[in-house]
Chain length 250, copies 2
């Protein structure tokens, strides 16, 4: 059985050590990955990232993004990485060695995927994690769970390359106009939903942040298509319009 292939983007969220960006790029190059996006690099960090042996091309074409959303915009499958040491999440942690098997039945219409790595000190925040479809745990030992960032990227790239779950070329633009909803569209519709829920008083000030995270996760877990998202967006727009009309009537 042929393993379906994804075109992966590696996303580093707020890395602090400039050496780690180059180290990540080199590990990517070693295993045939090409796309690197760095979210909110501290300016000096970004300036200091010069060449990485054998990975000059990746570093040169790496992109800096202001937000995670901007970084993962047109991908349709987002996987976060964690050492699993910090806290227990109420979602499944896929052991890295099982990621290829986990991907196999789920790849279907997906073409572009993003693999997220948090900053050296704090990892990915709960908000970042809530944008992920699944979380992967590198099977480190309990008494030394936290990996060096470049080494974590190396191990993950190795595991994906090992299973030949990596596409050599980016998909053509047509390919990702197809079924699964892209992250940008999902985030957009979620914002609209949040506005509506605020307007109807569903979100209470005290629990607002936690509820937002929960609802966003729910929305992301639904595997919506772009068509689903368009319909949902239409429904929400209609509700918003109705609420404004009623507000003006009173």
């Amino acid at each position: 059985m042929k393993q379906p292939s994804l075109y992966w983007r590696i996303v580093l969220v707020r890395p602090r050590n400039p050496l780690n960006i180059g180290a990540a790029a080199r590990a990517m190059a070693n295993f045939g990955f090409r796309e690197l996006v760095v979210v909110k690099p501290y300016d000096p960090v970004w300036q200091e990232t010069r060449s990485a042996v054998g990975a000059e091309e990746i570093v040169r074409s790496a992109r800096a993004a202001e937000t995670l959303r901007e970084a993962i915009g047109e991908t349709t499958l987002v996987i976060g990485t964690t050492s699993g040491s910090r806290r227990t999440f109420d979602r499944e942690l896929i052991p890295l060695q099982e990621l290829p098997a986990w991907l196999r039945p789920r790849v279907r219409g997906h073409r572009r995927a993003a693999l997220l790595f948090g900053s050296e000190k704090t990892g990915l925040s709960n908000e970042h994690l809530s944008s992920c479809h699944a979380l992967v745990r590198i099977p480190t030992v309990p008494n030394c769970p936290s990996m060096n960032l470049g080494q974590a990227v190396a191990v993950c790239c190795y595991e994906l390359a090992r299973a030949r779950a990596v596409a050599a070329r980016p998909p053509t633009s047509r390919a990702f106009l197809s079924d699964p909803a892209d992250l940008q569209a999902l985030e957009h519709v979620f914002e609209r939903a949040a506005r509506v829920l605020d307007a109807v008083g569903y979100l209470k000030p005290k629990s607002r942040a936690a509820t937002i995270v929960k609802l966003r996760r729910l929305l992301f877990d639904l595997s919506l298509t772009n068509n689903d998202v368009r319909i949902l967006g239409g429904v929400l727009a209609q509700i918003e319009w109705k609420l404004r009309i009623q507000a003006s009537e009173h």
Copy 2:
């Protein structure tokens, strides 16, 4: 089926960058490895190797060795790592992802194994490689084969931990007094053999070095037991004695 476990020693041969020793130690700690030996560290490198996050214990107990032979002395199975890019060897290169399966039928009496990493610039020399029972190739892509040292250690430790081919504790001294010949005994008997071959004129000055490498490899590939080595040593001693007698008779 239970995967037999080996107690692994990680051996870095002449690393040049002190950061890489710490990085290797950290990767080892992440995946439950403990024994680090560094062959001929450049003095300033060794001095600069201070702490590695979470791996202080490994760095503290790491040992510096003058020669590779001293570094792998009492291990009975030695695996070298290579990117496979430099030259073709006339021996099999085991892809890293197949190492656990390769080890399974061979582990038997082995308890202590060493995994060797060459220096950042040159990798392992032919002489180092001739002390190895097998060579492992990390499956990097052809256009960027050479890995960062710390990342190479991370990926190899991950693969071994992934297959649970790692013993948590060093074997007791009795365990490795058993069958397979240790490297020190093999080297010792090989030196004796070389003396004999020199004495009988088998080794020609021009091809001596190459022949030595070939013969040593042959000897190491035989999977001799300590008992075999003792017998072979006895035979060689007898030949040496006879040659000396004859020489004095003429």
